[in-house]
Symmetry: C2
Subunit: 283 residues, 2 copies
C-alpha cells in the first residue's frame, strides 16, 4: 500500500453521505443518513430534518447525557450500535470547552462527534539508527484486533485530561514509569475524518514522542497488547508501505514521526502527500 | 495577533473568486476572475470561458514558455503584472514531474500555479533554551521588505533542485558552509493557499531544521538580508503572537518548528489550531 492509501483510508469521509448534527447554532457531529433515519424515533431528543439533525432535549449536561443514553440503549438493543463500552467521551463545541453532554464511546461514530486520543511514539537510537517500540493489539480488541500499534495509545475518556490519559495509558499499556513518561515531548496532532461501518470517526490524536533508554522494555499489564517488538524505523516504514499490519490511524502517526525526524525525506516520491496529508483542518 | 490569524491570513483563498487553469484535463493553476478577464486578449495562448481557463497553445515546454512569456510581457507593459524578476519557476502537474512550461516568478500568482520554496530553521540550544537565528529581509525586497524571516529561505527556481536551492541559499543568505548545511534535517512541508494583490499563491514550503554550533554566526552576502539576530524561541513565539513583524509565511514555518519541538504544547489554547492548520492538503 503506498503511504497515500493509508492516508486516503483514514480520510474517506464523503459529506454527501452525512447530515450535520447541531446543538443550537453549532455543529457538534456528523450523522450518516441511515443513522439519522434511525434517530427519527426519538423526537424528544433529536429533531431529524432532511439536511440536519438537531439535539433538542433541554437541560444541563447531566440531563442531556441521560436522554442521549436512553437513545443509545434503545439502538444497542436493536443492534444499530454495538454493545456499550462503559466508557464515555465528552462532546463539546471544541477541545477544552465544557461538555454539552457525554456519550458512550461505542456510540461516538454513530453521532460523528469529535473524539480525541493520545498516541506516543516510543523510540530509541542505536547508533545512527532510530528504533521504534511497536505494540501488538490483543486479539480480543473490538477495534483493529491483533494489529500493530504505537507503544502507548488511548482515547481521552470523560474525566481524564490529556496528560492524565497519557500517564495512565503509559502505565497500564507499557509500564512506563512516571519519571520516564514525564520526558515525553508533545509533537503535534494527527487528524482525519473517516467513515466506518458504524458511522463517522472525526478524530484528533495528540502526538507525543518519548526517547526511551536502552534498558527500558515495555510490558503490558492491562491485556490490551499481546506484546511489543523493537523495530528499526526503516523496517516499520517498509511494513507500512507494504501492508495493513498497523492499525489504520497508527500508520498516520508513524508517518508523521518519520517526517518530523527526517526518516522520510523529500527524495521519497510520496513525501509531499505525507507531509500535507496528516493534519486535517478542524471545522 | 493570535496564531490563528497568521494561519487564516495565509489561507484566505476563496474558490468563488477564481477559475481553474487547465492544461488538457489537469488543473495547473488558479486564476482570479479579473486576471482571467485580462487573458481574453490572448486567445491563441489561453481560452477563457466562464468557469475555466485553458492553456491552448501547442508545442513543447520551450514553445509554450515562449508563448506564455509573450503574454506576461504584454501584461507587464500594461502593469497588470509587476516587472519581471528574471527568475523562472517550473509549472508541472506535480512536484517532480517534468515541467509543462516555465513562467517568470513575478507572474506566478497571476496564474496561481503552484510554487515551491525551501525554509531552514537555524537554531541552537543554550542550556535548556532553544534559540532561533532570525534574519531581517532587506528594505528593498519586493515581497515583505524589512520583515523578519527564517535564517535561510528561497523559492525553488527553474534549474535548481531542492537540495541545490537549499545549499545555494544557505551560502548566499547566511554563509552556511557546505559541511554545516549537510547536517540540515528535512522536517516536512508547510502549505497554504493565499490571495494577494497579484492573484493566488498556492505555495508549498519544504522545511528543514539545522542545529548550528555556538560559534556559528550567519552573515549575509547577497543583500537579501540586512542582518540576523539570535532570539529565544519563546520570544519569537511572543513576537509572532503580538505582531506581523515576521513575513506572512514565516510565521507558519516557525509555528511548525515550535509544535514539532514541543516548544508550543497542548496547554496553549491555540495548539490544535496550529497543529492542524499548517499543512493544507494538496489538490
Amino acid at each position: 500500500m503506498p503511504f497515500r492509501d493509508h492516508i486516503a483510508r483514514c480520510n474517506n469521509y464523503d459529506p454527501a453521505r452525512i447530515v450535520p448534527l447541531f446543538a443550537g447554532a453549532e455543529r457538534i457531529g456528523l450523522v450518516r443518513r441511515d443513522n439519522a433515519e434511525a434517530l427519527k424515533r426519538f423526537p424528544d431528543v433529536f429533531a431529524v430534518a432532511e439536511d440536519k439533525v438537531a439535539l433538542v432535549v433541554p437541560g444541563d449536561a447531566v440531563a442531556i447525557s441521560r436522554s442521549v443514553d436512553r437513545v443509545v440503549d434503545a439502538l444497542v438493543a436493536e443492534k444499530q450500535i454495538p454493545k456499550t463500552r462503559d466508557e464515555t467521551f465528552d462532546v463539546a463545541l471544541r477541545w477544552g470547552a465544557p461538555p454539552l453532554f457525554r456519550v458512550d464511546r461505542g456510540a461516538v461514530p454513530f453521532f460523528g462527534t469529535r473524539a480525541y486520543g493520545v498516541h506516543l511514539n516510543g523510540y530509541r537510537r542505536d547508533g545512527n539508527e532510530v528504533m521504534l517500540w511497536v505494540g501488538r493489539r490483543a486479539a480480543d480488541k473490538r477495534v483493529a484486533p491483533d494489529k500493530l500499534d504505537n507503544m502507548v495509545a488511548g482515547g481521552i475518556g470523560n474525566g481524564y485530561g490529556l496528560i492524565d490519559t497519557l500517564v495512565k495509558e503509559a502505565d497500564e499499556e507499557a509500564m512506563v514509569p512516571p519519571g520516564l513518561i514525564a520526558r515525553a515531548v508533545p509533537a503535534g496532532a494527527v487528524s482525519y475524518r473517516m467513515e466506518t461501518a458504524l458511522g463517522i470517526r472525526d478524530d484528533v490524536l495528540f502526538v507525543y514522542d518519548l526517547e526511551v533508554p536502552p534498558d527500558f522494555v515495555p510490558q503490558n499489564r492491562d491485556g490490551e497488547f499481546s506484546g511489543f517488538a523493537l523495530m528499526p524505523a526503516a523496517a516499520v516504514l517498509d511494513r507500512i508501505r507494504s501492508s495493513f499490519d498497523f492499525k489504520f490511524n497508527v500508520n498516520l502517526v508513524i508517518l508523521d514521526f518519520a517526517v518530523r525526524h527526517g526518516l522520510l525525506g523529500p527524495d521519497d516520491p510520496e513525501y509531499l502527500d505525507v507531509a500535507t496529508g496528516l493534519h486535517r483542518r478542524l471545522d
